[in-house]
Symmetry: C2
Subunit: 297 residues, 2 copies
């Protein structure tokens, strides 16, 4: 079996070269490539792909800017995203935000005086994970030693999960929510005024997916009216969140600036994914995280 | 076997009456008591105990104000603390503080603009738990699904733990520290200038034990000099922390006002402990969390 010819673009970054070679591939110029590992933006991607190219590996888990291009590319080219590659770090950040919210740490971090509140605990609560893909599954694993009932919501409702068309029940049943679903036309403003109205007064919403999944105006209104416990957001709409946005001054909001997947571990985790997918490509096996042209993720 | 006669003081709180009766005891006046469940302060405790009293259950895990009185009480009276009863809630708060510190959430909570840092992750790090009693063991359980190496430090060094006399190695070996040891003369300012000087620049220290375990002046100096990542403290010296204390304005400090064990779950968890110890007392079995006159905890 010859080593597959793989182009790394836009730059042949050392950790990716090493990963391609470790996976059994050889790094080549674009013109000779059977596959492309693209660690850059959609705008910089080559408009014409050499005819031999059958696979393109992208570097991010969310690939909204790529969907049109992928749909316009001939069927013989399989795109793969990095879905699941960063799941451990992102799930860790989701747990950090959930605990910080529920235990009142966001508020205490801003305090300048010793002022106790009787905050709730996570122990004994019900947490709904909306979108139980790689990150959701990883978060379920991290929650295992906690006495927490998990409600996993997926599009299909397979494998003991709750189908997305029963979300209305979930908004009422859970104490807290972690949004981990892909950003699609179908999930835009999934958390809107109606969902927020069904939640409990102590509920915290964590978003580590994409800002578009939450209606920001409805959220600000619910927080101002103290209708829910709070929102801990690593992603926002718009993003970056402008300085004059009301969420910066909202006591029940906690914003982290899209850092769930930090750069240092991202390089390491992407290299690991590239190595594994090159190995699979060389062996003719199914690749991890193939992008569906239909669903767009 | 007659139901043991148990006095609840200073007030016969309903949840404790229920716990005593569930455990097989009957609630009596002080003069008739064989045992006392004391849900009050040391200052209000009766100076003279009726002669039949053989057991006193206290409501807190840390019992520093009681040590002198316990040593002055006849040997036939066994005191029990609530060590371990609140371990789940306290360990949950310790994990919340550890994650909030390491992932930069304390700083982001105070930000008013979208400003990304490259924060570390907990995944892959080494966490030393100093004092692996009930809370420490519970934290180890919560950390199990994380890819974290735990160094457990105890006085004895038994059961695969590291003895306290090898702490100097531990200060250098671990990435992060959770202080969970009892407050005694021997543990006062256990974390001092010398320990802080051995730590790594990204190290976070979490204290959910007692403020006295950390030398506050040495800590403030280390934080100001940016020699460690930060300190997340649920307990302080002095406590409450006065409004003019430098830790309130220190960017690397996160203070929560002794809320690791919130009131709502505290009542529930104390009731559970009282029920279990009354059951054991009635059956003549060893009680949970007996206080040693020698060690003072």
């Amino acid at each position: 079996m010859p080593a597959p010819a793989i182009h790394i673009g836009p730059e042949p970054l050392a950790h990716l070269v090493e990963a391609v070679e470790d996976g059994g591939g050889r790094v080549v110029a674009l013109a000779e490539a059977e596959a492309i590992v693209w660690a850059g933006s959609e705008a910089d991607f080559p408009d014409e792909l050499p005819e031999r190219v059958r696979w393109v590996q992208l570097q991010s888990a969310g690939i909204e800017p790529w969907v049109e291009r992928i749909r316009a590319t001939p069927d013989g080219v399989q795109f793969t995203s990095a879905v699941g590659a960063y799941a451990t770090q992102v799930a860790e950040h989701a747990l950090a935000l959930l605990l910080a919210g529920v235990r009142g740490i966001a508020g205490y971090a801003r305090a300048k005086t010793w002022d106790r509140h009787d905050d709730p605990v996570l122990d004994g609560s019900t947490v709904a994970i909306v979108g139980a893909g790689g990150i959701g599954r990883e978060l379920i694993r991290l929650l295992e030693p906690h006495d927490v009932k998990v409600l996993a919501v997926t599009r299909s409702g397979r494998d003991g999960t709750i189908p997305v068309d029963r979300l209305d029940e979930v908004w009422e049943a859970a104490d807290h929510f972690v949004i981990a679903a892909p950003a699609t036309d179908g999930t835009r403003h999934l958390v809107g005024a109606d969902a927020l109205a069904r939640m409990k007064p102590h509920t915290w919403i964590v978003n580590i997916a994409r800002g578009s999944l939450i209606d920001p105006d409805a959220l600000v209104e619910a927080l101002r009216a103290e209708r829910i416990g709070g929102a801990a957001l690593d992603v926002t709409e718009p993003e970056p969140l402008p300085d004059d946005h009301p969420l910066w001054d909202e006591p029940r909001a906690l914003i982290t600036p899209h850092v769930a997947n930090p750069q240092a571990t991202m390089d390491r985790d992407l290299a690991k994914r590239v190595r594994e997918n090159v190995r699979r490509f060389a062996a003719g096996n199914a690749l991890l995280a193939p992008v569906s042209r239909e669903s767009g993720y």
